[in-house]
């Protein structure tokens, strides 16, 4: 692990140099919305944000990804595979909650017999350059889910704003390799590291929103038929905001576009949509919002815990901020905790 310092004025040059060697994805501001975009001569990284509107998952798991193209001839099918993008990438400016989502997504996409090479290949070729969070929002609850505003899970390096300059902390070998490309970076002084530590503690204290996830998974084991689901789904509109803006939601669908000559695509799906898990027969085991809401909560707080011993939520608060009817997942978790304590 190394600590380097970077003058604030030198950051644009560092990012620009990265773009010479890597495909760099970084937060970019357009109108009022900050999202991860590939940097080019047309745009520039924007770091003065709370968090991006969309999480960075689409850098590895794009909303639409072509797997292969096909052409059906009289007796034959011609298939042209589209391999996963192989370019070396840097994902720059990722908040610790979102970086932690990659630890969870890696488990999801690499588990079982069939690995998702499209995700894994891109993930392998990417260096994740995190950005510590000095002013968490009231909707942030990362500390309840094993994260923290200066957390390093899922990152290769972490950029920390220590007021007058940046501190770069390397976390993995990949991170060290990247830093070595910048021999002019000075080593950090002890005082800089101390200051970062202090800021990290302050930021951790600033995360005021807490949820109690203790026992939630165990409680859910026995709550599949609980009347709670009848209440909490009522106001849900069944849109995809909470799942599409969630850094960990990664359900997808695979479709053939066109019949004779077309492409097979992998697209984002959402458990909140009415056609999610709709069978070919027309039957849907999750026929109403109630079952779909239960699926979202169960997947995050029970099924994933059973499969991977982790909760599938990083507490970024996007779903809380963006729900059009203020359906707050923190309240749902609270209701589950309270349900059986009665």
């Amino acid at each position: 692990m190394k600590w380097k310092v970077l003058e604030k004025s030198e950051l644009p040059a560092l990012v620009a140099k990265l773009t010479e060697e890597y495909e760099v994805f970084a937060p970019v501001k357009e109108k009022n919305i900050v999202s991860f975009e590939r940097l080019s001569s047309e745009n520039q990284a924007y770091l003065d944000f709370w968090n991006t509107k969309k999480p960075p998952k689409d850098v590895f798991f794009p909303q639409t990804e072509t797997l292969f193209t096909y052409r059906i001839a009289e007796k034959d099918v011609e298939i042209v595979e589209i391999p996963a993008a192989k370019g070396k990438r840097v994902l720059f400016g990722v908040r610790p909650c979102d970086a932690r989502s990659f630890v969870l997504l890696n488990k999801f996409f690499s588990s079982g017999e069939h690995k998702d090479v499209y995700y894994l290949e891109k993930r392998r070729n990417t260096t994740i350059f995190g950005l510590a969070c000095t002013s968490p929002r009231s909707t942030c609850f990362c500390t309840s889910l094993g994260g923290s505003p200066f957390g390093k899970d899922g990152m290769d390096l972490l950029l920390q704003d220590i007021n007058d300059k940046y501190l770069i902390e390397t976390i993995t070998e990949k991170g060290e390799e990247l830093v070595e490309k910048f021999p002019s970076l000075k080593d950090a002084e002890k005082a800089d590291v101390e200051r970062a530590k202090k800021l990290s503690e302050d930021a951790e204290t600033a995360v005021k929103s807490k949820v109690s996830v203790k026992d939630v998974s165990e409680k859910l084991d026995r709550m599949f038929e609980d009347p709670l689901w009848d209440q909490i789904y009522q106001k849900c509109l069944g849109c995809g905001i909470c799942t599409f803006l969630c850094p960990t939601c990664c359900c997808f669908d695979i479709l053939d576009e066109e019949t004779v000559e077309g492409k097979r695509v992998k697209i984002w799906d959402s458990c909140q949509f009415s056609c999610f898990t709709l069978h070919g027969s027309g039957h849907n085991p999750r026929s109403s919002g109630k079952e779909r809401m239960r699926q979202r909560i169960m997947h995050k707080f029970n099924y994933f815990v059973n499969d991977f011993s982790e909760i599938f939520c990083v507490g970024c608060g996007r779903c809380v901020q963006e729900c059009p009817v203020n359906l707050d997942i923190r309240e749902i978790i609270g209701a589950i905790s309270a349900r059986q304590a009665e």
């Binding site: 639409t64 929002r137 106001k235 803006l245 059009p324 203020n326």
Partner: protein, 316 residues
């Protein structure tokens, strides 16, 4: 201004205890400042949960379709108009719904407040008749409410529910004068190519979360055209052509029925101005058919019926 909140609670309590309705659909305090959240009250003693203020932005008519019980709905002008449209379209028996009309002076557009505050987060807010007091880390501001209302409220011509069963409080004066369709003039002044470019730019932000559709009380189709899979009618990817087809067809489907409640634009997480195209269709409907949606329980939306005197200039 009268204490509408208490009047709402009284009416709700009366309707529930007299068994005129099984359920009241209203608003309760949300978990975040400037937010309320829809609430469903089925016991008279729970009416104290109900609130009324300029953060009551959800269009509650969304929750009326498909309900078996008799419901009472707190309805701003736009909510009541959409209940009327859905009733004409036979989505529920009219007698199953008690429209609790309310005078509305507009709802707050949180996005406008966010834009004003930049990266400062509102931690506390008090919404009053004329002012919104917001507080956060190291700041405290008094905002004039009228500067932060939703665009749809600024051109609203039905602040008092035009159709209701009970009305809460006194009616407020309706806005007249100023051009209701002023904001579509920039769209109209563009050439076809410029308009296409403009729509492409705007819709390229879409992530196909369908919040605009799902928040819309008129989108009650059991199976939306974009969800058809056997066979698929349209592409479901976020390629621009697929996305644009979705928005264009939806615009056609709600044309002449939309009342400009603004819920779609408020819900859109990507800040797409979805109202603009809808406002234009509303104008066309007014000019061509002298039709305004949701102000009558008799007149069927023009695109939903055929009349011999309909203009047929498209037949050459």
């Amino acid at each position: 201004m009268e204490d509408l909140e208490n009047l709402i609670r009284e009416i709700a309590k009366k309707l529930l205890s007299e068994k005129k309705v099984d359920l009241i659909i209203g608003y309760e305090q949300g978990t975040l400042p400037l937010h309320t959240t829809p609430c469903f009250v089925d016991k008279a003693e729970d009416v104290k949960k109900l609130v009324w203020n300029a953060s009551c932005d959800a269009n509650l008519s969304k929750y009326v379709v498909d309900r078996k019980e008799k419901v009472g709905v707190i309805a701003k002008g736009c909510d009541a108009r959409l209940i009327a449209v859905c009733a004409i379209e036979k989505q529920f028996p009219r007698e199953n719904v008690v429209i609790i009309g309310i005078p509305c002076l507009g709802v707050v557009d949180r996005k406008k407040i966010e834009t004003k505050l930049g990266d400062r987060e509102v931690l506390e807010a008090i919404v009053e008749d004329e002012q919104i007091k917001v507080k956060g880390e190291g700041f405290e501001l008094v905002l004039q409410k009228n500067d932060f209302l939703c665009d749809s409220c600024l051109t609203c011509r039905h602040r008092n529910s035009p159709i209701y069963d009970v009305f809460v409080g006194k009616k407020v004066p309706e806005v007249k004068g100023a051009n209701e369709f002023a904001e579509v003039s920039s769209l109209e002044s563009k050439s076809a190519e410029e308009r296409w470019k403009h729509f492409k730019e705007e819709l390229s932000k879409c992530i196909r979360c369908y919040a605009c559709r799902n928040v819309c009380p008129l989108c009650y189709c059991k199976m939306c055209f974009v969800d058809q899979t056997m066979p698929a009618w349209f592409g479901k990817t976020n390629d621009l052509s697929d996305t644009m087809i979705y928005h264009i067809v939806r615009a056609f489907h709600v044309a002449g029925r939309c009342v400009d409640c603004g819920a779609c634009s408020r819900a859109c997480p990507m800040d797409i101005n979805l109202r603009e195209l809808m406002k234009k269709t509303e104008k066309i409907m007014k000019e061509r058919y002298s039709y305004e949606a949701g102000v009558s329980l008799k007149e069927v939306p023009p695109l939903g019926e055929f009349k011999m005197e309909d203009s047929q200039e498209f037949i050459k």
